[in-house]
Amino acid sequence: MSLISADNIQKDYKTGEVTVRALKGVSFEIAPASFVSFVGPSGSGKTTLLNLIGCLDKPSSGKLTVADTDVIHLDRKQSASFRGSNIGFIFQDFNLIPVLTVYENIEYPLLMVQSVPAGEREKRVAALLEAVGMIDQKNKYPDQISGGQKQRVAVARALVTNPKLVLADEPTANLDHKTAYMVIELMKKMRDEFKTTFIFSTHDQKIVGEAEIIYMLEDGELKGMETKGGKKNG
């Protein structure tokens, strides 16, 4: 049983009179609790694919199922609710809310998206603060912590709703190598602990090696898939 099933997905962007095909018939399946990476050069379609999986955008054609839901036919409000319940996001620029503390940033999805009761919220936020090693920094604002710490907060925020899937678009692009490894290790640890599927995109070859399944994209096409055990054709 797969968590994500993509069948012949195409995505076209129209720029004036010109139509650009960003994805050209991509098909794949991802099982639950996987640690997956989409790799490829700039413009290969990694971000577009993550946006489609994350219900931030819709494919021009093809079939896409995430957590047993046909996400193509969700309207705006349904998409927002689906994301709030099933998907966590980690952004390249961390995207923490600057007026909220570390604690409040992690708490935000529980409070503003899921309306979880206070006791349960406190428990879940405290557990994640502990897990990402940010308990001492919980009252600091984003501008008072480092880039690596911000991304750890972002990981905790993505996981706090117990989503089935976490999407991370170039999560280590703005971090130094050491911190980037630490963030990837943290993501893996979280996957092991919470059984959440992690999908991240990157073009950093050293980071790619940390993924258990690697999908290679080029010019909007899936060129191959590699697992820790060996190489398969796409």
Binding site: L56, R83, S85, G88, L111, V113
Partner: protein, 412 residues
């Protein structure tokens, strides 16, 4: 909801200078409107008070058709004795009435035995008149504040022009409704300070002297001036009394009486209306200030936070909640501006009253400004500011809530 307020307040505090400037602008607008309303309201109330309490009364009843010819003081349109009796019976039953005064109004000649001039006279029962227009006694600047039979209160201008003093004998000559002329010698009992408006230069004599001069066999009354216990109930009571008197019909089944409130008897009502119109436009200015400043600041806030909007939308915040976040920011700005404006406005009005600023109204000099701010005004102005703030925030908030997360996240 509490968390939305927390986020809104923190976002406002994030741009302290901008928030301060916008809130200050609203505050200045609220202060300006409050001070304007209280000062003009004070002037308007004083003007209405002077006119109703020293001359007109709150309302008047005449014989049908009298007011159309009021400038001529037509004696043939006076109320007959039996009509007056009927009317008095009706008025005595009305609990809302504090007092009423019967008046015979007529024009005549005033002579100091050397010079002669014209005069408008009111024949009244002094005790009833003073209860119906209580500021009248205050207008007596020289002489007695009571008027006995054989005495006359003359206007100040006449006293100066004709060089007549309190205690001097004068003669009043008038033509009655049949055209015969009669005169009577009276003693000047008092000099009345001139007041602006119709009736402000009238003289007063006892009603029995008026009947004697006009050779009336029975009492024929020009008007009945009515004073209410509560001026605020003027419109409600005038409707009630109008309904009652309209039932009294003469032979051809036409109404005998007509009722007019003070507004219809003096041109100063137009000035009072102009003050209201000015106040309305000042309020419109306040609305414009709040609308433009809040809309401007909220448009800026949305523009600066596009990526944040994208982030919260991406992680599942519903569009309605995003809309609320921005609306609440505008709401908070409105509340702060209105609250500070109210406090500052009340302080300024209190200071104005302490300074005892004086002004003139027509012939009356040195009236002290008594600016009042009513709770009702505070509520209306605050509610207007807050509602306009919310309305002004709606467009930017709606724009934020409708943003596509993917586009917002790409925004640089």
């Amino acid at each position: 909801m509490g968390n939305l307020f927390k986020i809104a307040i923190r976002n406002l505090l994030r741009y302290k200078r901008r928030t301060l400037l916008t809130a200050s602008l609203i505050t200045v607008g609220v202060v300006f409107v409050l001070v304007f309303i209280s000062v003009t309201g004070s002037f308007k109330n004083m003007m209405i008070g002077q006119i109703t309490d020293s001359m007109l009364g709150h309302m008047q009843v005449h014989r049908k058709g009298y007011v159309a010819s009021i400038e001529n003081l037509p004696l043939n349109l006076n109320l007959r004795q039996e009509d007056v009796k009927q009317l008095e019976d009706m008025l005595n039953k009305q609990a809302e009435i504090e007092a009423y005064s019967l008046r015979i109004k007529f024009g005549g000649m005033f002579s100091n035995f050397v010079e002669t001039t014209n005069i408008r006279l009111n024949g009244v029962y002094p005790d009833k008149e003073l209860k119906s227009v209580p500021l009248l006694a205050g207008r007596v600047t020289e002489g007695k504040k009571t008027l006995d039979k054989g005495g006359i209160w003359i206007p100040e201008l006449l006293s100066k022009g004709m060089k007549v003093k309190v205690g001097d004998a004068i003669v009043v000559v008038a033509t009655n409704k049949d055209g015969s002329v009669n005169g009577k010698q009276l003693i000047v009992a008092g000099v009345l300070e001139s007041a602006t408006g119709p009736g402000g230069r009238d003289g007063y004599i006892h009603i029995e002297d008026a009947m004697e001069i006009l050779r009336m066999e029975g009492m024929e009354i020009s008007e009945i001036a009515i004073r209410l216990k509560d001026f605020g109930r003027l419109n409600a009571f005038s409707k009630k009394l109008e309904a009652l008197i309209s039932k009294e019909l003469n032979q051809p089944d036409k109404p005998i009486f007509e009722l007019h409130t003070w507004e219809k008897l003096t041109p100063f009502y137009t000035i009072a209306n102009m003050i209201d119109v000015m106040t309305f436009f000042i309020k419109l200015m306040l609305i414009a200030i709040v609308l433009i400043s809040i809309m401007n600041v909220m448009i800026m806030a949305v523009y600066e936070r596009i990526r944040e909007i994208g982030t919260i939308a991406a992680i599942g915040t519903l569009p309605g909640k995003i809309l609320n976040m921005f609306v609440i920011e505008g709401f908070c700005l409105g509340i702060v501006g209105a609250a500070i404006g109210n406090v500052a406005g009340i302080a300024i009005i209190y200071t104005l009253n302490l300074l005892k600023i004086t002004y003139n109204f027509g012939q009356q000099k040195g009236l002290i400004l008594q600016a009042n701010v009513y709770f009702y005004d505070l509520i209306v102005i605050s509610a207007t500011v807050i509602i306009v703030s919310v309305i002004a925030s709606l467009q930017p908030a709606f724009k934020a809530s409708r943003m596509e997360p993917i586009k917002a996240l790409r925004h640089v």
